[in-house]
């Protein structure tokens, strides 16, 4: 494992720990007052138009966990689950986009009429690495 990989991994773990602590622990002390929009809606009157959410019965609705009551654990489990789901979806999307970008012919070479054989796996990422150094 190169030093670069180790440093990246260390940063990723650190960032993830912060996100999990914020969502799973610190969020317990978040303000429960209505947010700006909900407050304005209630004060001015258009809040009465609100319709119930179609998924109000889902397991994590309202950032609580069904079956765990309304205490610390309920919010903690929901928060940790949310971080995990978001990480998986955004990370997965990134992976797909990167693969697609890598499979795309690199603009400069395509214009020269050359094939990109053997270079497609790293694609533009490898190029940008060159440029930035």
């Amino acid at each position: 494992m190169s030093e670069h990989t180790v440093r990246n991994r260390r940063f990723a773990i650190g960032a993830l720990v912060v996100a999990l602590l914020v969502a799973g622990v610190v969020s317990y002390w978040a303000s429960s007052s209505p947010d700006g929009l909900n407050k304005v809606a209630a004060d001015t009157g258009f809040g009465t138009q609100e319709k119930p959410h179609g998924l109000d019965d889902s397991p994590f609705a309202g950032y609580g966990t069904k079956g765990l009551g309304g205490g610390f654990a309920s919010g903690a489990v929901a928060g940790v689950a949310g971080v995990a789901i978001t990480l998986a979806l955004a990370g997965g999307l990134t992976l797909v986009l990167r693969r697609r970008a890598a499979g795309r012919p690199v603009a400069g070479r395509a214009a020269d009429g050359q094939t990109t054989d053997g270079q497609t796996t790293d694609g533009p990422a490898a190029d940008s690495q060159h440029v930035e150094r």
């Binding site: 440093r7 940063f11 990723a12 960032a15 993830l16 912060v18 996100a19 914020v22 969020s27 978040a30 303000s31 429960s32 007052s33 209505p34 947010d35 700006g36 929009l37 407050k39 304005v40 809606a41 004060d43 001015t44 009157g45 258009f46 009465t48 138009q49 609100e50 319709k51 119930p52 959410h53 179609g54 998924l55 109000d56 889902s58 609705a61 309202g62 950032y63 929901a78 928060g79 689950a81 949310g82 971080v83 995990a84 789901i85 978001t86 990480l87 998986a88 979806l89 955004a90 990370g91 999307l93 990134t94 986009l97 990167r98 970008a101 533009p124 990422a125 940008s128 930035e132 150094r133």
Partner: protein, 248 residues
């Protein structure tokens, strides 16, 4: 600022959905060029972080709270296209798994809180970075300013949708004044969180802040100068074993 179902009528919600789909489509294309070896691993982390911090409602005045929107933050960390995708993923997760933000209002919410905050936040960031000193402090200050502006911009976008398809007869001026007023306060919190986060990442891994790459390049160019080479000495670049080619 998650809009529930019922505030905006169906036709305008559908139109907002079309805007959101088009915007996300543009971002999917644009993000391919941003996702290099530094940004790609960051994108998932940024989305997860924005989700987490959005749970932290902070009090703003009597009986009101606000939370991070995160568009400016994400755009500064991973670039505008990838950043908008990150926030859009967060909003979709919140609506589908946490019943936060209406299902029919998803288009309104993605437009307001992802597209508008990213576009406004990123443009303001670039403009402010350009006039401030090219230092870490300059980047952090620009982050704060852009985050502060992005929040009332998102509130304004909501009022725009309300003007087009609001389901109540509350006068537009009343809604506009109230929305901008409270979101200027929430913008202060957004600025503080954004500046603190960008500042922290700049401290541990300055190379991972996409909006600070101009600092990175400067540092790299300077390094050979440490050997006493006067700035602008072009000959140094042509020497075969010049220190320019070495990584510090």
């Amino acid at each position: 600022m998650h809009v529930p179902d019922g505030f905006i009528d169906v036709p305008v919600s559908v139109a907002a959905g079309a805007v959101a789909v088009a915007g996300v489509g543009i971002c999917l294309r644009g993000a391919r060029n941003e996702l290099d070896e530094r940004t790609a691993p960051m994108a998932g982390l940024v989305a997860a972080f924005v989700f987490a911090v959005q749970m932290l409602n902070f009090p703003v005045g009597a009986g009101t709270s606000g939370h991070l929107l995160g568009g400016a933050l994400a755009a500064i960390l991973v670039g505008p296209y990838t950043g908008a995708l990150c926030v859009a993923v967060v909003l979709i997760v919140q609506s589908l798994f946490f019943a936060d933000g209406g299902l029919t209002a998803l288009g309104v919410n993605i437009t307001d809180m992802s597209l508008v905050t990213v576009v406004v936040g990123y443009l303001v960031f670039r403009a402010v970075v350009a006039v401030l000193p090219k230092t870490r402090f300059g980047v952090v200050a620009a982050s704060a300013v852009s985050a502060f502006v992005a929040v009332p911009a998102a509130a304004l976008a909501f009022v725009g949708f309300y003007a087009l398809g609001g389901t109540s007869d509350i006068p537009l001026g009343t809604v506009l004044t109230a929305m901008i007023g409270v979101h200027l306060l929430i913008g202060l919190g957004e600025a503080a969180i954004t500046a603190a986060t960008v500042g922290s990442v700049l401290t541990v891994r300055p190379d991972l802040v996409r909006g600070a790459r101009h600092l990175q390049r400067r540092l790299e160019l300077r390094q050979p100068g440490q050997g006493g080479r006067p700035p602008g000495d072009r000959d140094a670049r042509e020497r075969p074993s010049s220190s320019m080619t070495q990584e510090a």
